[in-house]
Every structure is written in C-alpha cells, then in structure tokens.
C-alpha cells in the first residue's frame, strides 16, 4: 500500500510542470556549483604546491647570511584546501590563505579572497552547499505543501480516507513520494561528487575524505528528512493549500535568510571581540611591560644577563663562550610566545563561543546545524582554521629556535656575521596534517544533537498530524 501511494505521488510530481522547472533549475545549479568548486580546488591546490616549492627553494638558496636576518625573512605557511571544500567552502573566503612566519611576531593570515572580489561576490555565491542548504528545502516545500492540503481543497481527501487506508501508511507513502522525487535530483549529483572525490583521494593528505563525505551526506539527509516531515505535518493540519504554502515558505525564509544573519549579530553582541587595534596594543603592552605589568622587557633582559654571567662565571657578556644575542633572542621568543598564547587563546575562544551561538541557533533554524556540521566535515570551518593556524605557529616557533641555535655560533653584537649557505637545509619544511573525523565531530555535538532532534520531531509531527487528519 505504501509503495502504491508513493508511486502515485511520484508520478504526479514528475508530471507536474512546476516540479520539472524547479528540478531542472536546481540540478543545473548544483552541477554548475560542483564543477566550479572542483575547478577552484584543483587550481588552488596547484597554486599552493607551486608556491610551496618555490618558496622552499628560495629559503634554501638564500646564501650565507646572518641567522636572525633569515628568521626575519621567515617562511610562509599556505593553508591547504580539503577536497570537500569544493562542496562547502565554508569560511574560506573570509580567512587569509597564507601566513608569514617570521621572528618575534605571530602574524594574522593574509589575503582573504573576499577582499579580492567584487561586492557582488558576497551577495550571491554559487556553491553546492548553498544549493543543498537553501534551495533544496524550497523544492521540498514545493513538492509537499499540497500533499494533504491540495487533496482537501479538491475534495479527494474524504474519498481517500473512505478507502480505509491506514493513516500512517498514507503519511509514509506521501513522504516516500517526495523522497523519491528528491532522489531523482540528488542521486546524479551525489554520484558526480563521489567520482570527483575519488579522483582526488590519492593526491592529498585528507585520508578520511570518504568518511567525511558519507557523514556529510548523512547530515544533509537528516536535514531534508526534517523538511519533508515538517512539510507533511503542515500540509495535513493547514486549512488550505494556500495556507500550508505560506506557512512553509515563511519557515523557509526564517530558516535560510533571517536566522543565519540574526544569529551572527546576536553572537557578536553576546561575546564581543576586540578590534584589531586594541588586540595589537594589548599584545605590545604585554611584551614591553610584562604580562603582569612589573616585568618590563628591559628588566627581563637584565635578569637574563645576570643569570647567564653567573652560570658561565664571567663578568662581561663579551667573555661568554656563546653569543649572548642568541640567548636574548630566544628568551624574547619564549616570552613573546606566552603573550601570543594568552591573547590568541582568548581571541579564538571568543570566536568559538560566538560559533556556539550559531550552533545553538539551530534550535530555531535547522540550517544552522547542518551548515556547521557541513563546514566542519568539509574542513572549511573556523575550528580547522584554528587547528592549522596553531600548527603554523608551532612551526614558526621551531624555525626561530633553530635560527637562534645557529645564532649561538655567530659573533656577539655583530649582526652581519653570517653562517654558511648549507645551514638552511637544517630547517624542516612545514607539513600539516588535518585533524581526524572524531575530532571534528567532537566540535559539533550541539549541531548533531539538534539535527537529530529536528528530524525526529518533524517525523513525529507528521505522524501526529496525519493521525488527526480532517477530511475537509
């Protein structure tokens, strides 16, 4: 019985001109978005690999040089893009693509793609994630607002119920009808996505890519399930098809348009972040005056000098067997690191709290749950940016430590003293390994919980509403 109802629904939908237009449009957009995302991924990966190769060669071939001067020249870390970011680029346009790892300073990432784009780019972006999160729910609404309401308007519902069909069969059949129409749309696009991913699996460090993709697909299925359940429930309860449509479109607007932005401003208000100016000032203050305000950089230097002289049992720094500049530089790095740790942890925790507001906003709008989860699995969320930034910063510290060890071999107070050209090969290349799926899922427990809750509650609502179906 259920299959028969589903087949009838499906046939009716596929014959409907509105569905054909909508389906063709969404399918075309989805395929175009996947293709564009894929091309961007291939191009940006090639660019990154080239840049890594060139800058490494430059580093190795800088010739005889003072190690501290080389540390100021520094190295660059380029953020790799996960293949799944071609489906959901997440925040990628709003974080810099590269960071300069130099002496003394933890830099911000540079070159946000959004700054290199027109204002129109911000207005409308075509990505597979937008199609899946925003457009497909509207197609679901379009397919199912009339499920019961239209039959009621036409008077066929009374007839249908008189046949003695079980109401739960009816609900399930209608839902399956919608689902199979959706499948017509989604299966080809999913196959395309998997094929593209399979092509890239060998080339990048994202070993758990397939698992991430499956979980992402599961997240979207829950999201679509919630919309199907909700649409059927509203359709069963609404007095007319028109009212069902207005209610569902209203929900779609709140879910897709109002909530994401409203939540962003709410998060900003709840956990205000510092201005770049205030942040930089605070860091500088801590470095010159000491984190507690009583341990200025001059005093720290004097203390270090006294300790080192005592250790080697000499009177003047000139008499030390090692270059005191190198010791002082490393001490400066060590101190700076604690200051940067303090401030960046505070800043990034503020953003994490703001993002938690985005996640909990899913209590109102399921889009917020699926968006967080999708970005996380695609590796294009803030947490994985932070993961990369932390790895890059650790590499900066390593580079500086090696540079200061080399510095020990140079003459005191002679900043032009050079070490030989072979030295630079001692500095390891920066290698980054993205976090595993379990780490990612751990960041998104509220989203996972709320997405499941939406799906379960929407299904329950659909059953409840069809159980209380009024024939007219």
């Amino acid at each position: 019985m259920i299959t028969r109802i589903a087949r009838k629904e499906f046939t009716e939908m596929v014959r409907d001109g509105r569905f054909r237009v909508a389906a063709a449009l969404v399918m075309a957009l989805l395929v175009a978005a996947l293709a564009a995302g894929w091309k961007h991924h291939v191009d940006s990966t090639a660019q990154r690999l080239t840049a890594e190769r060139i800058t490494r060669a430059q580093w190795l071939n800088q010739g005889a040089r003072n190690p501290h001067s080389a540390a100021h020249y520094g190295v660059w870390a380029f953020r790799p893009q996960s293949p799944l970011a071609s489906i959901d680029p997440g925040i990628e346009k709003y974080v810099g693509t590269a960071v300069w790892l130099e002496a003394h300073r933890q830099n911000e990432f540079r070159y946000k793609p959004a700054s290199d784009a027109t204002a129109a780019a911000r207005f409308g972006e075509l990505t597979a994630a937008v199609v899946l999160q925003l457009l497909l729910p509207l197609v679901i609404v379009l397919l199912s607002f009339g499920a019961f309401a239209a039959e009621r308007d036409n008077g066929t519902l009374r007839q249908l119920l008189s046949l003695g069909v079980s109401r739960s069969d009816l609900a399930l059949g209608k839902a399956l009808g919608v689902a199979s129409a959706l499948a017509v749309l989604l299966v080809p696009a999913t196959a395309l996505g998997i094929a593209a991913l399979a092509l890239s699996a060998g080339t990048s460090g994202w070993g758990d890519g397939p698992l991430r993709l499956w979980l992402m697909g599961l997240g979207y299925l829950l999201y679509f399930g919630a919309f199907v359940g909700l649409s059927i429930a509203v359709s069963a309860r609404a007095r007319s098809a028109q009212l069902a449509l207005v209610v569902l479109v209203g929900f779609w607007i709140v879910n897709g348009l109002v909530a994401p932005r409203a939540v962003a401003d709410l998060a900003r208000g709840a956990f205000p972040g510092p201005s770049s100016f205030a942040f930089t000032q605070a860091v500088r203050e801590d470095i010159t005056r000491g984190a507690d305000g009583h341990n200025s950089s001059d005093k720290r230097l004097d203390d270090l000098k006294a300790a080192v002289l005592k250790k080697y049992g000499v009177k003047r720094v000139e008499d030390l067997p090692v270059n005191f500049d190198a010791l002082s530089l490393q001490a400066g790095e060590d101190y700076g690191n604690t200051v940067y740790d303090k401030h960046y942890t505070r800043l990034w925790d503020t953003y994490r709290n703001q993002n938690a507001v985005h996640q909990w906003g899913a209590a109102v709008a399921p889009l917020l749950a699926v968006r967080s989860l999708s970005m996380g699995l695609a590796g294009s969320d803030f947490e994985q940016h932070r993961h990369f930034a932390t790895a890059a910063e650790n590499h900066r510290r390593l580079i500086n430590r090696i540079a200061n060890e080399e510095m020990l071999k140079t003459e005191y107070n002679n900043w032009n003293d050079e070490v030989p050209a072979e030295t630079w090969a001692k500095f390891p290349e920066f290698r980054y390994g993205p976090p595993g799926v379990d780490w990612v899922l751990g960041q998104y427990l509220p989203s996972i919980g709320l997405m499941l809750a939406w799906c379960v509650l929407a299904t329950a609502a659909a059953y409840w509403a069809t159980g209380r179906l009024r024939p007219s």
């Binding site: 028109q242 449509l245 201005s275 100016f277 940016h385």
Partner: protein
Amino acid sequence: MFLTVVRHEWRQMSAGKILWPVAVLFALLVGYGVWNGLHWVHFQQQTLEAVAQEETGRIAKMRAGVVEAWATGAITDPSEPDPRSAGFLGTRAARNATLPPGSLAALAIGQSDLYPYYFRVTMANKVSFTNNDELENPTNQMAGHFDLAFVVVYLYPLFILALSYNLLSAERDEGTLAMLMSQPLALGTLVLAKIAARGAVVVALAAGFSLLAVLLSDAGLSEAQVWLRLALWITLLVAYGGFWFALAIAVGALGKSSATNALALVGLWLVMALVIPALVNVAVTAADPMPSRLELIAAARQATLEADKESKARLGQYHKDHPELVPKGSGYNVADSYVKYVLSLDTEEKRLAPILDRFDEQLARQQASVAQLRFLSPALLAAEALNDLAGTGVERFRHFGRQVDGHHRAWRGYFLPRLFAKANLSAAELDRAPRYTFFEEDTAAVAARTFPVLAGLVLPTLLLGAFGLVGLRRFPLIA
C-alpha cells in the same frame, strides 16, 4: 473612486488579521537591523578614537624626544636611533589616514567590515602599511550582517509579495470580486488602489526607520548632503518596492489561483535575489579571474632576496666611499638601516608592480562587468546602490584610497629627502610634516551614480505594471 477604495482597503486591512502582525514583525526586523548598524558604526568610531588618541600621545612623546635631543646633544652610539633623525620620525611619528563612517553608515554595513578604515601612513612603501584588516570572526562574516540594507533587499520584497500575491484572487475566491465589478469601478483602479494602500504601509515603515536610524546615529543633520543622501535612499526604497508590487500585479493579472501566484512570486524572488546574483558572480569571475596571491607571495620573496643583496652591495659601496662612517665594533648602524629599509622596499615594490597592477586591473574589470550585469537583478542593483549611498560600497573606499595615496606621497615628499641627507629634524620641522584630513565624497557624484539605478528599477516597473494592467482586461472574475 480611487480614494474610496484606498480608504476601504485600509479599513479592511487594519481590521483584518494579517496587516498588524506583519507590520509589527517587519518593524521588529527593521529595528534589529538598524540597531546592528548603529552598533557597528559605534565600534568603528570607538576604534578610530583610540587610534587618534594613541597617535596624539605617540607624536607628543616623539616631539619631546626631539626637543630633548637638541638640548642634550648628539647620540654617539650608532646602534641607537637618533630621535631627531628623518628615518626615525618618518616611520615612528607617522600619522594615521582614517575613514570615518559616513552619515548613513548605520543603514548598510556593506563592505565596511572587509576593508581597513585606517592606515598608519609611513615613509616606507604602501604594501608595508596596508595590511591592516579588522579582526572579525570569519563565521560571522560569512553569514553576513543583519542590517537595514539586508532587510530592504531581501525581506522587504517578501513582505510586499505577502501583502499582494492574492490582491484579486482572494476577492475572486470569496466571490466578492464579481459584486465589486458590478459597481462603476475599473479593475485597474481597484488593483492600483489596493497597491497604494499596502505600499503606503510598507514604504512608510521602511522609510520611517531609515530616518530614525539616521537621527540616532548623530550624523550631523545640519548638513545638506545628509538630507540629500537620505532622500535618495528613500527614493530608492520606493522604486525598489514599486518593482515588486508591479511584479505582483503582473503575475496576479494572469488570473491563476492564490497558491499558484504565491509559488510563482516566491520563485521569481528566488531567481532575482539569489540565483541571478550568483550567476553574475560566476560569469564575472570566469571572464576575468583574479591572479594568484600565492604567486604574488613567491614573487615578493624573490624580490626581497634580491633587494636585500642589492642594498647590501649598495651599503658596501657606501662604506667604501665613507670609511670614516663604518661603525666600530658593532656591525649595526641605525641611520643606514632606515635608508636600507626604505630603499629595499621600494626596489621590491618596483619589481612587483606588474603583478600588483594585475590584481587591480582584474578587480576593476570585474567591477565594470558587475556594473553592467547588475541590471539583470533588481535585488543586486538595489543592494549596490544602498551601500553606495551609505558610503560602505566600493566607491567610497576607492575615494579614501586616493586620499591615502595623496597623504603618502606628501609624507614621503617631506621625509625622503631628509632621510637620504641623513638630516635631523627640529621640533618645528616635525610640526610642519604633512597632516591628513579626510574630505567627504562629493554628494553630486553619489547622486549621479544613483540615477541610472533608479532608471533601472523604474523602467521594468513600468513595463510590468503596463503588462499587468493590460492583462487585467482578460481577468476571469469568477473562479
């Protein structure tokens, strides 16, 4: 007759169940948008105040250092910077070039959360001080701001469509349309009067809140330019709203059911507000792709290495010519290092100029394409124009950029000759260093950019309206 219908509609709407909830909801959303805009303007103002305060304190300290150094005599250790030297003052006593939020900034946040709004302009090259983005959670930036412009561009059309998708179809479904038409009343007059009643409510809300936002943001209401901008803003609101009303008339005139009208209108809204802008974006970036920033980094690294070697050679030559200046003991000489710093950055910039220019050229090309293609989507058209009026669009940032360049040239013109002469400045000379003052963009230029947008909204409105009114002749009065 027209007014009679408007009055009747008004009475019916205010007694009905739809208008007030919708109006209250709209007012709440608009209010939230305005509040967010004000919040952001306030944040920028506070930051700029802190920046100005730091600048005043820093320069006063530098000036005191200059006075003291002239009083106590020369610095003997070449590894210590001379506080009077052009090298020291040209970088450390640099002033900020700032962009204060415009008078209507609270209405549209636009691109203002993406581009820096202050720079500390030193005598070194431009690249060295323009990397000054505001800190912001990228997740929030991705979501976008809930400002008045967002409400106007996306939600205001939806409110209009919600109030007008069933203008005639509802009357027909209830059977009152045939009765109405038995009166000496043209169908066109009826539709226009219904639209007028609804339009008055929606536009009054949007315009009223815009005015309120400007009043709350201490925008200097005595200035004529504020009122002119506000007038253009409200005109734009009316024209944009008019387009969506005309669209509702045109779709309604086809005589379909209320549900079909609603579906068609939501579909059209989706295509115009989301799909076309996305396609415009794809077309624009595919036609003129941006060069790679990573390639720029690699090229810049090469340039740094080469400039470094060159300046080392140059410094070596210099020391050969002036053996008396070669510092004893320490290998470090601050006066030289400032010259070296400025020169090597300049050499670098010259070498990178072709690549850097390519970024600007491609972006300019993309922007030129968007300027044409935006006429395909009223939403995109309105969004760009609203940002432009609020001073948060690309144009005002370009205007600011030109002034930053001007100040940078003046600052270098003042300090570089003194740097190369290794001159020390007196306090009076420091006081005479170029100052930066921001000049607001000419309002006439803003208005001139807004008029084509208005035409781009009014023309389709008239066409759709005409199509709708002609179509009404064949409107089926009975379901």
